[in-house]
């Protein structure tokens, strides 16, 4: 048990000490919030019932968690596999399942401060006003919604070659961000793109937060899609991991 704790602490420590990781995860959502908030009048009601400044707060939180989750796995994990470190860990007392689980946990632990950071930016630069309950609820929802992305990032790192993992991750960030409606309201997109948005987990993650703010309620369909993505990605990751485990050292 103390081994697992040590490993988790080690993983989180590595993430927050990596300037590359920090620049990307802090830079993108913060800069984007400041850039995009002026695209509409901040108080303009979009997507039915939410002010643009709050809508963008939710979508940039989603984008931030997407960026943090994908980069926590992604190229970092890929290069660590290439270095032979993950295999070295397999010949320590660390249980086999704990490697991936710890990666997911460490990713989720850096997503949380990322959400808080974007919220602070939203308050400071967008003048967002929410009740305490809404702040808590929003943070919790968006945090849980980041889980499929954490798994996706680790899957990429576990599957894609070290040199291609970084472009793949950056590409996915912008595809999921743009087509998931995180940069501009989905209702302002062309009809065909709206259909695409509804297929992406990034859309449904942000939609959970927006449902909370506009009082539309629980968002059952969003949970369903996110859950399906989470389960499917986890299964694929586990299968990939099993194949790796049956290969021995060569």
């Amino acid at each position: 048990m103390s081994g697992l704790l040590a490993f988790t602490r080690f993983e989180v420590g590595r993430l927050v000490r990596s300037w590359k990781f920090l620049v990307i995860t802090i830079g993108f959502p913060v800069v984007f919030y400041m850039l995009f908030v002026g695209n509409h009048r901040p108080g303009k009601i979009v997507d039915g019932a939410v002010a643009w400044r709050s809508y963008l707060l939710v979508t940039m939180c989603s984008f931030g968690s997407l960026v943090a989750a994908l980069s926590a796995g992604g190229a970092r994990l890929s290069s660590e596999r290439a270095a032979g470190w993950s295999r070295q860990l397999r010949v320590t007392p660390l249980p086999g399942w704990s490697y991936l689980v710890t990666k997911v946990v460490a990713t989720m632990l850096v997503v949380l401060p990322e959400l808080l950071l974007v919220e602070v930016v939203g308050v400071a630069f967008g003048g967002v006003h929410l009740s305490v309950a809404d702040w808590f609820g929003l943070t919790a929802l968006l945090w849980v919604a980041a889980l499929p992305f954490a798994v996706l990032g680790i899957f990429i790192g576990w599957t894609v070659h070290a040199e291609t993992a970084f472009p793949v991750v950056v590409g996915l960030m912008f595809v999921l961000g743009y087509f998931g409606g995180l940069f501009s309201p989905v209702e302002s997109m062309p009809k065909a793109l709206q259909v695409v948005a509804h297929l992406l987990p990034s859309f449904h993650g942000a939609a959970l937060g927006i449902s909370l703010l506009d009082g539309r309620g629980f968002g059952f369909s969003h949970w369903l899609v996110l859950g399906a993505y989470g389960i499917a990605l986890s299964l694929v990751l586990l299968i990939r991991h099993r194949i790796e485990e049956t290969r021995g050292i060569s």
Partner: protein, 327 residues
């Protein structure tokens, strides 16, 4: 299988030192298949506690599979693999085994951290690790602790990986080609460290494809080829076996007694006019043959009793001593 395996080896010596303990490592009739490819074909091997064993073999001989099995990374298709009296997985999970694996171009260490952080993590994964400073001293990496892992030279990374392998104070240490990226001086220092570690009663198994290294640093050498142990014994015995040659010729009046006393000869077979002798020193045998004026023709000197691949493997390390067919 070479005859040397029947002779008392260091294994028996080590067993005599620790008579009532189970072997550190036991492979019994182990078969491993990857699909239709037979990687191990009835491999048998035993390593006593406190012994240092070298696994010698060419690429593709089954060394990697043997290593994967002994570390519990693979399960055998059939047969038994036992490590420290239990299953390999359990021995690894209990922190009783340490390993230094081959990493190709990689450092084998986590990128983006200092050596100390990586080593401290590994230490914390074990229940009864060696004191940190002792591990650092054993591996001679005191000067590297504050270095980022990606700024180590190949030889330095290997020393840090050795520290990683011994951080848990394991009873059995496995080293896969541990000195691959080192210069001569680096190798010398490194083997001294490994040796010291082994002298504390630990079992060390290392894989190599240099007979020199195997002979110099192991109590015993097991040669693996085509998924089997083809020779197993102390390095000196193996070297003598390598020198062994079969001397064949035709002698019209063959008298067995003439041949038995020839220098270096260990075995003689006579079939009609055909004579076939096994010799530990073919040069001396042929010289003696000439000196005694024994008439012979169609002389042939060939390697005796060993599988070709083994001979080829060894030949890389040992310069050839005999010209085939010279009278």
């Amino acid at each position: 299988m070479l005859a040397v395996s029947d002779r008392p080896g260091a294994c028996d010596a080590a067993r005599a030192r620790f008579p009532d303990r189970e072997p550190a490592l036991r492979f019994e009739d182990v078969v491993h298949r990857y699909g239709s490819h037979l990687a191990l074909d009835g491999l048998g091997l035993e390593v006593a506690r406190g012994e240092t064993l070298a696994l010698l073999g060419p690429n593709g001989a089954g060394k990697s599979t043997t290593i994967s099995l002994l570390l519990g990374l693979l399960r055998p298709s059939s047969g038994t693999v036992e490590v420290l009296g239990t299953t390999p997985r359990r021995a690894v999970a209990e922190g009783r085994v340490g390993a230094m694996l081959q990493t190709g171009a990689g450092s084998g260490l986590p990128p983006g951290v200092r050596v100390e952080a990586a080593l401290r993590l590994v230490q914390r994964l074990y229940r009864r690790p060696a004191p940190f400073d002792l591990t650092v001293q054993r591996a001679g990496i005191g000067g590297l602790l504050s270095r980022p892992t990606h700024q180590l030279s190949g030889g330095q990374a290997q020393r840090v990986r050795f520290a990683v392998a011994i951080a848990g104070d394991p009873e059995l240490v496995f080293l896969d080609e541990p000195t691959a990226a080192m210069d001569v001086e680096g190798k010398r220092v490194f083997w001294r460290m490994i040796r010291q570690f082994g002298e504390e009663g630990r079992t060390i198994v290392f894989a190599t494809h240099h007979l020199q290294e195997a002979d110099q640093f192991a109590d015993r050498v097991a040669v693996i080829n085509r998924g089997r142990v083809v020779a197993d014994g102390p390095g000196a015995t193996l070297k003598a076996a390598i020198a062994a040659r079969r001397v064949r010729f035709v002698c019209d009046h063959a008298d067995r007694r003439d041949f038995d006393s020839l220098q270096g000869v260990t075995d003689v077979e006579v079939h009609g006019t055909g004579v076939s002798m096994e010799s530990l020193d073919a040069d001396a045998t042929v010289t003696d043959l000439v000196r005694r004026k024994i008439p012979f023709r169609d002389l042939e000197v060939v390697p005796a009793g060993m599988e070709e691949a083994f001979v080829a493997l060894i030949a890389e390390d040992t310069p050839p001593r005999h010209a085939i067919g010279a009278p």
